[in-house]
């Protein structure tokens, strides 16, 4: 049975609808708008087999599915954001049909309209601070042993000396990183209107080198966007072993928590 469901990506204002010709959604179907009053939702048809409760449960645990779906979802939101103010919905918000989407829009129209208003002409920037912290493990390949490794008791002393040196180096790196984070915060003042703190990205699998010590999202008026970006890129100038990565502009994903049912959802928000 080829029953279809309705996948909702985002809420936009309905007064100046973006052109969605050629835009495809998570399952390859065209993205269209369903409107109700002042707001509209971007939706696309998805097959029941892939997006039923059971299928989603499986899919969300499957990294390949998750990556493909997340990128497709994000791609639709990016496209919308290029044209208009967007309220991104959480991944995998799925309805039975367009009528149900319309009903949801009707129920929340006031909330959505207020948030759209607040986010108009604002963009989100991601600012991540990385510290190049020396490895803590003495056996790590980067901790090159001195060329002539002494034997016996000397070896033990040399080992301890090396450990002490490494610990010191780590502490220094953290101190510098903290200073870098403080500077990004200072630089953001007067430009950003809001900040959300994401958890630092962790793990040896990180694509980029260094340890992520701060992972912030800032809401910035579009007209100040370039200045913000430039300031962030230079925030850590002169600080050794620290890197600031700036990503964006993003749709304001991180600043929609006020609509969430139950404020607890915005736990990461300050």
């Amino acid at each position: 049975m080829d029953e279809q469901l309705c996948y909702a990506y985002a809420v936009v204002g309905s007064s100046a609808p973006p052109d969605l010709a050629g835009v495809r959604g998570v399952a390859g179907a065209p993205v269209t708008l369903v409107d109700s009053g002042a707001v509209a939702a971007a939706i696309s048809a998805v097959p029941w087999e892939g997006f039923s409760e059971a299928a989603l449960k499986v899919g969300l645990e499957d990294l390949e599915w998750l990556e493909a779906t997340a990128r497709a979802h994000h791609s639709v939101i990016e496209t919308l954001a290029a044209h208009t103010t967007v309220l991104p919905l959480r991944l995998a918000t799925v309805y039975l049909d367009e009528a149900r989407v319309r009903q949801m829009l009707r129920e929340r129209e006031a909330d959505f309209a207020a948030l759209l208003d607040r986010l108009t002409d604002h963009v989100e920037w991601g600012v991540k601070v990385y510290a190049e912290v020396p490895p803590s493990s003495p056996s790590a390949p980067t901790a090159a042993p001195p060329p002539s490794e002494p034997a016996g008791a000397d070896a033990g002393r040399a080992y301890l000396r090396r450990r002490r040196y490494q610990r010191q180096a780590r502490e220094d790196a953290w101190r510098v990183a903290e200073e870098a984070v403080r500077r990004t915060e200072q630089q953001a003042r007067g430009l950003a209107v809001e900040r959300t703190r994401h958890r630092p990205q962790q793990g040896g699998l990180a694509r980029v080198p260094g340890e992520n010590v701060a992972n912030d999202a800032y809401l910035v008026p579009r007209r100040l966007s370039e200045e913000f970006r430039t300031r962030m890129l230079h925030a850590a100038d002169g600080l050794p072993g620290v890197r600031v990565d700036v990503t964006g502009p993003w749709a304001p994903y991180s600043f929609t928590a006020s609509v969430a049912p139950g404020a607890a959802e915005g736990a990461g928000q300050r």
Binding site: P88, L96, T247
Partner: protein, 196 residues
């Protein structure tokens, strides 16, 4: 020393929906936004947000880029049933999920026994009420036996060379991903102190 990462989504602001921006954005950056942020509305298809929360915690431990990880030979999540539907259940350490399942089955079994008890008691004459119970307990023992035996054999298998090695390798990998945590935690804690 500053290094700029090209602001990836910028390029995607071109009007073409097929611009390469999104595909180039860091998966971790995208996931933390589409899973963790964004408006939460419960649609008609209910997904347990708690599941997502757990999922993102797991993801946080492992990804910035899945491809990169595979490239350098780290793929332990593919063997973890809690992380991948493709993972074989018989492979590797028993996950919490499996333990949970087993415990649940046992609870179910115990419930069933309790539910049956009154019926069986009322069916027997009062004076030999004790005997049927004993008989029943021994009767019921065998069905429970295979499960117990399987558990033992699981443990045995874990003692075997290859499996033990696998376990150790996985444990090392997990440790590798975890080493960064205490430092991060300390920093955050200190950060909070500064703030207060």
């Amino acid at each position: 020393m500053t290094e700029s990462e090209p602001a990836v989504p910028t390029t995607s602001r071109a009007l073409s929906p097929y611009s390469q921006g999104p595909s180039g954005a860091n998966l971790a950056d995208i996931l933390e936004r589409v899973l963790d942020k964004g408006i939460v509305i419960v649609g008609d298809i209910k997904i347990n947000l708690l599941d997502i929360e757990l999922l993102t915690i797991k993801l946080r431990l492992l990804v910035a880029s899945v491809d990169k990880a595979r490239e350098i030979g780290i793929d332990w999540w593919e063997h973890d049933p809690a992380l991948s539907s493709r993972a074989s259940r018989s492979d590797g350490r028993r996950s919490l999920e499996e333990q949970n399942e087993r415990l649940r089955a046992e609870v179910e079994e115990l419930r069933r026994r309790i539910a049956e008890t009154p019926a069986e008691l009322s069916g027997s004459s009062p004076e030999d009420g004790r005997r049927p119970r004993e008989a029943r307990d021994t009767d019921r023992e065998p069905p429970a036996e295979p499960r117990r035996r399987r558990r033992v054999s699981d443990d045995d298998r874990e003692g075997e060379g290859t499996r033990a090695e696998q376990g150790a390798r996985r444990a090392r990998t997990a440790e590798g991903t975890r080493t960064s945590r205490p430092a991060g935690g300390t920093r955050r804690a200190r950060d909070d102190e500064d703030r207060s």
